[in-house]
């Protein structure tokens, strides 16, 4: 299971820049970013280093940030790769709320992020279908403590 940073944003000019600047100033690197928007507001989803620390940084900077559990799948970089994954989920009756993907420069695979209604069962279904889930530590530096703690203990 992978922790994704979710941030609620009003549709106002410069707000996304402020968000990314806050993360950048805290030395947090983003691996992927996806913006879902409506005419009234947007939701920004981020895979980044130390997601707990990132949520803490953003809350302190006046953003509404929370962590969302998503599943990350290593999809072979070939035609039909993603379709195999979605079909496996579909046949098991698992609904995908949203999905986005990014490419790992070091690997010959794309990483697909899925938000599903039942992540635990989804992980099992995919494993049974022989589809490789990506581990959190392959994508970012997992942390379960806020940044301040990490700094204090010198990690």
């Amino acid at each position: 299971m992978v922790e994704q940073l979710s941030v609620f944003l009003e549709n106002t000019t410069g707000r996304l820049a402020e968000l990314t600047r806050a993360l950048g100033d805290a030395g947090l690197n983003m691996r992927a970013l996806m913006v879902a928007d409506t005419s009234e507001f947007g939701v920004v989803r981020v895979i980044c280093d130390r997601p707990h620390a990132a949520a803490d940084v953003l809350e302190n900077a006046g953003f509404s940030a929370s962590l969302t559990e998503v599943i990350a799948v290593e999809v072979p970089d070939r035609p039909g790769g993603l379709a195999d994954v979605l079909e496996a989920l579909g046949h098991a009756g698992i609904n995908v709320e949203y999905a986005y993907c990014f490419v790992e420069p070091s690997a010959d695979a794309a990483i697909d992020i899925f938000r599903v209604d039942d992540p635990v069962r989804a992980a099992r279904v995919l494993a049974e279908a022989g589809i490789q889930l990506a581990n959190a530590d392959a994508l970012y530096l997992p942390d379960s403590r806020p940044l301040s703690d990490i700094v204090d203990t010198g990690v």
Binding site: F8, E10, T38, E40, F41, S66, E97
Partner: protein
């Protein structure tokens, strides 16, 4: 003039008439309306302490809460067998206040509305489109009866369906229009979108009211419709449209002083202010039978326009209403108090009771948008959940306020907190003007 005997009567005669009618009204409410008897007794006030309108300041005020406490009929001075009509007005807590009319009340109201139509240039030959809402709101039926009293042909189209308004205005050869100023503007703009120019229609005059408007707005209405646009003032608690009206001199609204006594008081000290000074409009009805009011605080801000009017009417004039002493706003003719919105929000999980109402102009119409902070417990990763939340808030507000207002979800803590009185209404209507 529709009733020159009254509209142009000498000040001396008018004041004598006012004295007599005021005395009757005070006696009537003291003997027939329990809340008034209690209020007068409590204040140590007796009707016989008033010998002329100048003595009226000795009487206690009536406020909206008095009417609300007496809901629905506790303030009526006539038995229901004499009441022939009921109207209602919205209140701060969703609680409406009810106003009743005897047959004679309706007759007088019709006369007063007819005075306003005549002052705007209306005659029995005219065809008047009444595009005020018909129903519990007094606008539609008030002007309707005024037109019929005058003998003009009334087109009771009510509000809404603007394309049809334009079509009817052209096809029926309408010569007069009665509606809110913003709706008049919308009709003009809609006609242009439909490829028609209302200036080429026979329509000559507008009797416009039920919302505050400016001279700037008047100019726009007059230009786009090619009409003379005059203001009419009234409030349902007091009667409805026709308490005061503008004449073609466009310099203040003539108060129908043979039926209403208007005072201007300092909204803080409640002391009467001399003519010319701005304050809260306080109205005493002196001919109403079913629902008389003594010193009713309207919360509307105006002043007496000094001097006499060249039109020949002898009644004093009040300036166009310049604002409110409370935070009430009017959205498409419906009274909205920010507190009502607050009450809705505290009942909804997922939003904070921090909000602002932002008023702008969208074309001709006033546009209201409520900005609401989302609460920390909202699963804001899901757009669907946020959309549902937004729809819930909008639906609850529409249900509680009887008018739909757009809702915008904003980030927590993004609405400026105030040290003192929270600034709940941001009015950008005059800044942006009409787009």
């Amino acid at each position: 003039m529709f009733q020159p005997d009254y509209e142009a009567m000498s000040r001396k005669d008018l004041e004598a008439l006012q004295r007599e009618r005021l005395q009757d009204t005070l006696d009537r409410v003291y003997h027939r309306v329990r809340p008034y008897r209690d209020k007068f007794d409590e204040a140590g006030f007796r009707p016989e302490m008033v010998h002329s309108p100048e003595d009226l300041h000795k009487a206690p005020f009536t406020v909206k809460d008095d009417l609300r406490a007496a809901y629905p009929y506790g303030m009526f001075a006539s038995p229901m067998r004499e009441v022939v009509r009921l109207h209602a007005s919205s209140g701060t807590t969703g609680q409406v206040t009810v106003v009743g009319y005897t047959r004679a009340d309706i007759e007088r109201w019709s006369d007063l509305a007819a005075r306003a139509i005549v002052a705007a240039g209306g005659t029995p030959d005219d065809v008047v489109q009444v595009a005020y809402g018909y129903g519990l709101f007094t606008g539609g039926l008030g002007l309707h009866y005024g037109c019929e009293r005058l003998g003009a042909a009334v087109v009771p189209i009510s509000g809404g369906n603007t394309h049809r308004q334009v079509q009817v205005m052209r096809d029926f050869q309408v010569t007069g229009l009665a509606c809110t100023p913003s709706y008049a503007l919308l009709i003009g703009e809609t006609a242009l979108e439909m490829g028609m120019d209302v200036r080429e229609f026979p329509v000559r005059f507008g009797v416009l009211g039920a919302e505050p408007w400016s001279d700037n707005m008047r100019t726009q209405v007059e230009q786009i419709l090619g009409i003379t646009a005059l203001d009419i003032y009234g409030l349902s608690e007091v009667m409805g449209p026709g308490v005061a009206f503008e004449c073609e001199c466009k310099n203040g609204l003539h108060v129908n002083e043979d039926h209403f006594i208007v005072e201007i008081v300092d909204p803080d000290t409640l002391e009467p202010l001399p003519d010319g000074e701005s304050g809260e409009v306080v109205i005493t009805t002196i001919t109403k039978e079913a629902a008389p009011l003594v010193r009713y605080r309207t919360r509307d801000i105006s002043r007496i326009v000094p001097g006499t009017c060249p039109c020949g009417r002898t009644s004093r004039r009040i300036e166009r209403i310049g604002g409110r002493t409370d935070d009430m706003i009017i959205v498409r003719g419906v009274n909205v108090f920010p507190r009502q919105i607050e009450q809705v929000l505290v009942g909804i999980v997922g939003v904070a009771p921090h909000y602002q109402v932002v008023l702008t102009k969208r074309g001709a119409m006033d546009h209201a948008e409520v900005h609401v902070e989302i609460g920390p417990e909202v699963p804001f990763d899901e757009v669907k959940a946020l959309e549902n939340l937004r729809r819930t808030v909008a639906a609850e507000i529409a249900s509680a306020l009887a008018v739909s207002i757009d809702v915008k979800l904003v980030e927590p803590k993004s609405i400026q907190r105030s040290e003192g009185k929270a600034r709940r209404v941001i009015d950008l209507r005059s800044e942006g003007g009409v787009q």
